[in-house]
Amino acid sequence: QKEVEQDPGPLSVPEGAIVSLNCTYSNSAFQYFMWYRQYSRKGPELLMYTYSSGNKEDGRFTAQVDKSSKYISLFIRDSQPSDSATYLCAMRLQGAQKLVFGQGTRLTINP
């Protein structure tokens, strides 16, 4: 079993829809949780970063962490074609350098 599981999709939704992307993990000691966005032929860029449990909002993006269920989510409101990308969840332990990534979900927003 992988440490971090992420549905690879692909996921295709119409413009304006609310998108929900999810990851589950097995190591309850993870403390830092991230979402990266990767456009085609580019490197990943950090989108959201959360420490421990709770919600974090940034514009149209909301990240949620539920440590009791070992489940994290990224919500995109009013999705735009420019949101079409691969979304990678990542997490790490306190004091560790290493990030553990999910497989990535490929998202397409159709105009």
Binding site: L46, Y49, L88, K98, L99
Partner: protein, 114 residues
């Protein structure tokens, strides 16, 4: 803006060749990383370095070595390239401060080994 650059976007090599992938960052970051990215497997850590001349193995170090002679430069070396090393290679850097978790990625090098 932080910039992480990689020496090549696309590279084609033959089995058995020695391959060097170079990464340079311009933000004086202590930590640098090499990942490979494969469909269905996500990003997997090959090696990382937390200081000049310091390195630690990641999850899949076999077949690779690294070199960090200067703070801004981190090289990945494939001593004898094999076809199963065909992949996208991503370099990243990160500041040393705990809690500052942004890893900045380069654009990647797509390596094909024939």
């Amino acid at each position: 803006d932080v910039k992480v650059t990689q020496s090549s976007r696309y590279l084609v090599k033959r089995t058995g060749e020695k391959v060097f992938l170079e990464c340079v960052q311009d933000m004086d970051h202590e930590n640098m990383f090499w990942y490979r990215q494969d469909p269905g497997l996500g990003l997997r850590l090959i090696y990382f370095s937390y200081d000049v001349k310091m390195k630690e193995k990641g999850d899949i170090p076999e077949g690779y070595s690294v070199s960090r002679e200067k703070k801004e430069r981190f090289s990945l070396i494939l001593e004898s390239a094999s076809t199963n090393q065909t992949s996208m290679y991503l370099c990243a850097s990160r500041p040393g401060a705990e809690g500052t978790d942004t890893q900045y990625f380069g654009p990647g090098t797509r390596l094909t080994v024939l």
